[in-house]
């Protein structure tokens, strides 16, 4: 083994007597590990939310919408669609008449809302926005039974069926089979110049559109393409083409290609809008949030690196005489620097690996719906394991009993008394949190104390058992976070907090963490290498 590694590994592993791993190394490793785990976890949640939102938005969103700049109608759309569908990377394109109209209910005397109307061919639209998947009811705009019934019951002419956004329908208080009146046009009254008569078309509500996206459910209605063309008097013409791509991320790159394929004349001034432009404010806010988070998280790792630096400075002080002796024996300044840099870097590396493992494990727990054992089993685990550590360290049943009684007292006060005290709920929460903190500190002190007393044969065993126990306790307690229970599912449009691990980022954070830790070792190591042998030997 190389000399520096030989000395550094011994310094890393033991204090004075040969033991398993020194407590100060463990604390430094845990410091770095917690930092790295937090970073991985937080970024996985942010990525998950972004990814989840994107998936939800894109489920019924066209990736590109092609229209003219003045929103005008154009003919020959069948050929244009064919040309667009021939472009590589395009899945489907659907002709749409897209406009806004005022609506009111049958029997009502006033306009109740202005809604977005999409005139579509359901089968074609389905390929672009999965239209039929979100319809509760029928989307047979021509021949649904409800239309026949309405025609039979009403004297008025019925143009066709309409599928209403579910929230919109709630607001208008209409049910399936009700007739909705759309104000299509205004014509000047011949007899009474200056007054306008609205041209009204009747539609029967045949279904509800339930995408759970407020943007749609609150504002949109679907009618047949032919009916839409008819009410605008634009038979054979449309004003938009909705397009789905194989990969939504390429939308900005492909929109130009699609514009060209559609072969509009220059005077028509065609224009495209991608889904990214539509949701730009949201996704740029998410992006900004992520950048800010990464910076803050880098600071967490920096804090952990300071931890390494201070640990090393302490080691250097503790080992000053050893450094003096090694220099006397002929070790060069490079050797000394190497020893301390290796020690610090190994701590940084172990901490980074441990943190990555922990972070990924928690990510897995947060995204896996498996039945968990009762937390009581986890608590029993901690109890048994801790008591056996104390028992083997002190070999006295009295010590074990005393620590167990103290633990049980704090635990039961926390679990059984505090919740029933007559206090405000905030006060109770604060008390419970303080209780948990007291418990954790108590265990840490007790375990560190007994750990130091533990003989070196037991240390690896309990170290491994402790890791397993931590894993098991996390398994019991960490479950996917239900947004439904928190009442946030409507806002985020998801049932559980989504987690998405970005492997590239995990690699990046590993490299960053290791680099920061490595840099933190330089100063203490340099300080050690600069010690004068004689002064170091006489150091008390």
């Amino acid at each position: 083994m190389k000399f520096e590694w030989f000395v550094a590994s011994r310094y890393l592993l033991s204090r004075r007597k040969q033991s398993f791993i020194s407590i100060i190394s463990i604390i430094s490793i845990v410091g770095v590990g917690l930092g790295v785990a937090t970073v991985i976890l937080v970024i996985a949640v942010l990525d998950g939310v972004e990814h989840g939102l994107k998936e939800r938005f894109l489920a019924n969103e066209a990736h590109i919408v092609l229209r003219l700049i003045d929103n005008g109608f154009y003919s020959d759309y069948e050929n244009k669609i064919e040309a667009i569908e021939d472009v590589e990377g395009v899945v489907a394109a659907s002709p749409v008449v897209y406009s806004q109209l005022a609506v009111f209910r049958e029997g009502s005397k006033q306009i109740e809302d202005v809604i977005l109307i999409k005139g579509i061919v359901p089968e074609v639209e389905d390929k672009v926005t999965s239209f039929t998947k979100f319809v509760n009811g029928s989307y047979d705009f021509q021949n649904d039974d409800l239309i026949k019934q309405a025609r039979f019951l009403n004297d008025e002419t019925i143009t066709g069926g309409i599928v209403l956004g579910s929230r919109l329908a709630q607001r208008l208080t209409v049910a399936k089979g009700d007739v909705l009146k759309l104000v299509v046009n205004m014509t000047e009254d011949q007899l009474n110049p200056g007054a306008y008569i609205p041209l009204i078309r009747n539609f029967v509500v045949i279904g509800f559109y339930e995408s759970e996206l407020t943007v749609y459910d609150d504002h949109i209605a679907y009618i047949d393409l032919k009916a839409a063309q008819k009410i605008y008097n634009e038979v054979g013409r449309v004003n938009s083409i909705f397009i789905r791509l194989e990969n939504a991320e390429f939308a900005p790159k492909m929109s130009e290609e699609i514009e060209e394929a559609a072969q509009f004349s220059v005077l028509d001034m065609p224009t495209t809008r991608t889904w990214m432009e539509k949701y730009a404010p949201l996704f740029s806010a998410l992006e900004l949030e992520k950048i800010a988070t990464v910076i803050i998280e880098a600071l967490i790792i920096l804090v952990a690196a300071f931890n390494i630096a201070s640990t090393l400075i302490m080691t250097v002080m503790e080992k000053t005489r050893d450094v003096g002796m090694l220099r006397t024996l002929g070790a060069s300044r490079g050797h000394i620097m190497g020893i301390f840099m290796i020690k610090g870097s190994v701590i940084g590396m172990l901490g980074t690996l441990a943190g990555t493992t922990l972070g990924l494990y928690i990510c897995w727990l947060l995204s896996t719906n498996v039945m968990r054992p009762s937390p009581w089993i986890a608590n029993a685990c901690i109890g048994i394991l801790s008591c056996s550590v104390i028992g083997i360290a002190y070999r006295r049943i009295g010590t074990v009993s005393v620590t167990f009684i103290i633990f049980a007292t704090i635990f039961s006060i926390n679990m059984f008394i505090t919740p029933f005290l007559v206090l405000s709920s905030t006060m109770r929460t604060v008390l419970i949190i303080l209780g948990v903190i007291a418990l954790v500190i108590f265990w840490i002190i007790v375990l560190i104390k007994s750990w130091q007393k533990l003989s070196s044969i037991w240390k690896p065993t309990f170290f491994a058992l402790g890791l397993l126990a931590i894993g098991f306790i996390l398994f019991c307690y960490v479950k996917p976070i239900s947004l439904e229970e928190l009442g946030l599912s409507a806002i985020y449009q998801m049932n559980q907090l989504p987690i998405k691990v970005n492997w590239f980022f995990v690699g990046f954070i590993n490299a960053l963490s290791f680099a920061i830790c490595w840099l933190a070792t330089i100063y203490p190591a340099w300080q050690a290498s600069n010690l004068k042998p004689i002064e170091a030997l006489q150091y008390e």
């Binding site: 190389k2 000399f3 520096e4 030989f6 011994r10 310094y11 033991s14 004075r16 007597k17 040969q18 005489r321 050893d322 003096g324 002796m325 090694l326 220099r327 006397t328 024996l329 002929g330 070790a331 060069s332 300044r333 050797h335 042998p533 004689i534 030997l537």
Partner: protein
């Protein structure tokens, strides 16, 4: 006898602000091959400083030290480090063993340091790749063959000092410098340590320079010089 070390008009001053404290004021001394030289003197007279300078741990203010006609005062820091590793062994008043390492590892340490350099012996092998073997033989020769795997904290004062002596010898140095080697152990144990020193000197023809108060030690030395007022008294 061959002359091993020649010290020529050695001066050393320490500075505390503007005040100059002259410790060594022109030391002239020859040390011969295979002799045990005891340097005696009142405390604070500069014995240890002289020893540190001979051992290249400190540099003189003025004057030269020749090891076999090579002037080490002209060496660079790097050359001195290497020279210290190859040619000098130290024994201190406090054993200065590394607490994390066993007796065997402590003794082998300077051999391991030497292994990191590209030093080759006549056969083309790395010079002391057998550092552990040598360490074992040396620990046996100081009577500690039963203690190889013990840590310093598990050894008695005399045993620690004997390990320290073995450590000084592992790279077959030109000279072993000992600073009050018996200063911190009781009389009976001192005798045992001195027996070890004498035995090594006789068997291996190892040169020793020993700084001491201990008159019994100087009795066993081949030659004793006294350091008085920064100079060697005749």
């Amino acid at each position: 006898m061959d002359k091993l070390i020649r010290i020529d008009n050695l001066h050393k001053s320490f500075y505390d602000g503007d005040t100059e404290l002259k410790v060594l004021k022109g030391v002239n001394l020859d040390i011969h091959q295979a002799e045990v030289l005891a340097i005696m003197g009142a405390s604070g007279v500069g014995k240890s400083t002289l020893l540190h300078i001979i051992g290249t741990l400190d540099r003189p203010t003025e004057g030269n030290i020749f090891y076999e006609d090579e002037d080490i005062t002209a060496f660079s820091e790097r050359e001195l480090t290497r020279f210290r590793n190859d040619a000098i062994g130290f024994v201190f008043q406090f054993h200065q063993l590394l607490p994390e390492f066993t007796a065997l590892e402590n003794v082998a340490m300077s051999g391991l340091i030497r292994n990191t350099r590209k030093v080759e012996n006549k056969n083309g092998n790395r010079y002391s790749s057998d550092a552990y073997e040598k360490a074992e033989i040396l620990l046996e020769s100081v009577g500690l063959s039963e203690r190889l795997g013990h840590f310093p904290s598990q050894l008695s004062g005399g045993e620690r000092q004997r390990v320290a002596i073995a450590r000084a010898l592992v790279n077959q140095p030109k000279v072993v410098l000992a600073d009050e080697p018996t200063g911190n152990i009781d009389d009976k144990t001192s005798e045992a340590v001195l027996d070890v020193l004498q035995d090594i000197n006789e068997r291996l023809k190892q040169t020793f320079i020993i700084v001491t108060h201990d008159s019994r030690l100087s009795e066993r030395a081949n030659r004793t010089v006294h350091l008085v007022d920064g100079k060697i008294a005749d």
